[in-house]
């Protein structure tokens, strides 16, 4: 009886830690929590929780991945309206963000619907970050987004690479 109780407590603790912590990647990554780089983190929204550094990714542009977690989202399925709402929680209202929505598509993956977004900084021809690619979906029952800040426009390979990283999250 005591052993059973201990097992249940351990199980609940493990589940709690898993749900509370950031999603883990199957790739080799290092996770830098929000606040560790205060000067850069200050520009990010309240939903930002940290960034992954992909240790084995050779392409420099795809090495750093920002992670956002959205609390108090009761939905469990991605929709166009939810995608718009969560995008606003990362970048603000479209009219304020200065970024141009180039594409937004809902895609089916083995782990449910995701929203794949491309935002360009078209207004600034010298923009350091001309393109941002975002994937929004659910991991561990929580709504999350990953954001890639690209220093050059993406191609089919880098777009697939970004989806591959999303699929690696558990």
């Amino acid at each position: 009886m005591i052993l059973k109780s201990i097992l249940i407590i351990l199980c609940i603790t493990f589940l709690g830690i898993t749900l509370w912590a950031e999603p883990k990647s199957k790739e080799a990554v290092e996770f830098v929590e929000n606040g560790k780089r205060p000067l850069s983190d200050s520009l990010k929204s309240a939903a930002y929780i940290g960034s992954y550094r992909r240790l084995d990714e050779p392409q420099q542009d795809l090495k750093i991945v920002d992670l956002y977690e959205f609390k108090s989202i009761s939905a469990t399925k991605m929709t166009r309206s939810l995608c718009d709402q969560l995008l606003g929680r990362i970048f603000g209202r479209p009219e304020d963000s200065g970024l141009t929505l180039k594409s937004l598509a809902l895609k089916t993956t083995p782990r449910g619907l995701i929203c794949e977004v491309q935002l360009n900084d078209d207004a600034d021809i010298h923009a350091k970050i001309p393109e941002r690619r975002i994937v929004i979906g659910f991991v561990n029952l929580k709504a999350h987004a990953i954001v890639f800040r690209l220093l050059q426009k993406s191609d089919a390979n880098s777009q697939e690479n970004i989806l591959k990283f999303w699929r690696s999250l558990r």
Binding site: V32, K36, R37, P38, L39, S40, S42, L43, K44, S45, A46, R53, Q60, D61, K63, I64, R89, I90, F91, G92, R93, D96, S97, G98, L99, D121, A123, D124, H126, A127, K128, I129, R149, L151, Q152
Partner: protein, 164 residues
């Protein structure tokens, strides 16, 4: 009654007295036109764009540029902290509020940056004192100290151009 008229006319003719009393009042601008219009009421270091700021300590090296893209205001930063790679970030500014020497810059996503003007050439951000630089100086410093070690990008020449 005549005295009231006199006050009325005087306040119309001498708005300067109102401006000087604004030193402790909050002044907020949301775009380049508003910033230019109120430039004479802003701290000197913040009154003309682009504002190029540079930090180089043993803990962090950082370049920050506030400029206008059309009528919008934008902040770009390249930050390299100890034991980490340079990190490039940018955001458009929704509102910049000035009160005395304190400046609060609010971005489109409602995050904010607090700055404190220390002098005509120094600004404090998160306890770090940044030096004001010319665009040419900042381009040189970024190229020398940040661009060659870029991890988030492979195109230092683009970065250098964008800092101009």
């Amino acid at each position: 009654m005549k005295l009231q008229y006199l006050f009325c006319i005087a306040s119309f003719l001498f708005p300067v007295s109102q401006v000087s009393s604004r030193a402790n009042e909050e002044l907020c601008v949301s775009n380049f036109s508003e910033l230019s219009k109120n430039a004479d009421q802003l701290p000197k270091v913040m009154s003309q764009l682009p504002i190029n700021l540079w930090l180089d300590t043993s803990l962090a090296t950082a370049a920050i540029k506030i400029s206008n893209i059309g009528d919008k205001l934008k902040l770009e930063s390249v930050v390299k902290q100890m034991f980490s790679s340079p990190d490039i970030e940018s955001a458009y500014i929704k509102l910049a509020c000035f009160k005395g020497n304190d400046v609060v810059v609010t971005f489109s996503n409602n995050s904010s940056y607090k700055l404190k003007v220390l002098s005509d050439s120094n600004v404090e951000i998160r306890g770090q004192s940044f030096l004001k630089k010319s665009s040419t100086e900042l381009v040189g410093l970024v190229a020398k100290k940040l661009a060659p070690k870029m991890e988030t990008g492979t195109v230092p020449s683009t970065l250098q151009e964008s800092v101009r």
